[in-house]
């Protein structure tokens, strides 16, 4: 990630991989922004944390899974991943349960974190 654009954009993901297309459409926005040379941070909060669980499968509805999208984010120079640690705890999850290491952030730190980004999109 180029440092000059490190804090361009924050994408907040608040929906689980299934039941709606919010997560996928949020990830698509992140990918497009990265393709346009913007630095992108991702914050997984609420049910969005479930996107980070291993072995999420597409399932019988024929929707594309989101795990392959997540795994290709580093190829687009997206490597700033944050997880809402309060959600993580409330769901009884640990770092070991996630598909890759994700930095933990407490909700008290959200306002300052949001302030650091020029553009914030919520999904």
């Amino acid at each position: 990630m180029s440092d000059s654009h490190a804090n361009d954009m924050l994408v907040v993901l608040r929906h689980s991989p299934h039941g709606s297309s919010w997560l996928r459409e949020g990830l698509e926005a992140a990918l497009v922004a990265a393709a346009f040379g913007r630095g992108v941070s991702l914050l997984f909060s609420g049910e969005g944390v479930m996107a980070l669980l291993d072995s999420q499968q597409p399932g019988p509805l024929g929707q594309k899974g989101t795990q392959p999208m997540l795994e290709m984010l580093p190829m687009y120079d997206i490597d700033a991943f944050w997880v809402d640690v309060d959600t993580l705890r409330s769901l009884g999850l640990k770092q070991d349960d996630l598909i890759f290491p994700v930095a933990e952030m407490a909700r008290e730190a959200f306002p300052d974190f949001f302030q650091q980004h020029q553009l914030i999109l919520n999904f």
Binding site: M9, V12, V32, D84, F110, Q118, L121, N122
Partner: protein, 161 residues
């Protein structure tokens, strides 16, 4: 989501109450360039209604509303064949009026639109469909336009269901 609520007001979608009009008024006298992101479908939820009221307040205060981007179910706001009862607001026409009177670009995410059957004449022909469903002056465009709007306007305000 109720059990996992978080402080939405910090950056979450603007929703529901009359404070959206106040929000537009609080920005003071310096004209700003606004963009809206509409993710809610017309009629089923309040997002589009609120977005239009906010849009009206923005231009009434002398600001520029340059761009509205429709994503997710928001693409249904561009449905050419929408025919609501005459005693209800015509949301599609209201967006077109905004374009006609203030030059607001009405941008529809092409990927979201194609999935949901919102296609212009060119895409309809390309996919072998009879007729088209996107009402000009709405235009199909890529997500890159949303990112661009986010960085080139003074404010981007999201209206989600």
């Amino acid at each position: 989501m109720k059990t996992l609520s978080w402080p939405r007001r910090l950056a979450g979608p603007v929703r529901y109450d009359s404070s959206i009009v106040t929000m537009a008024m609080e920005v003071g006298s310096l004209p700003m360039r606004y963009a809206l992101l509409v993710q809610g479908p017309p009629y089923s939820v309040q997002a589009s209604h609120s977005a239009l009221r906010f849009a009206g307040a923005v231009v009434a205060r002398g600001h520029q509303l340059d761009t509205v981007f429709f994503y997710h179910d928001g693409v249904y706001n561009a449905a050419r064949l929408a025919s609501p009862p005459q005693d209800e607001p015509h949301l599609v026409d209201a967006w077109r009026n905004l374009h006609d009177q203030h030059g607001t670009a009405l941008l529809v995410c092409i990927a979201s639109g194609l999935r949901r059957g919102i296609v212009d004449a060119k895409e309809a022909s390309r996919h072998g469909k009879e007729g088209f469903s996107l009402a000009p002056p709405f235009e199909l465009t890529g997500l890159g336009q949303l990112i661009d709007a986010g960085f080139t306007h003074d404010r981007l305000v999201t209206f989600a269901p």
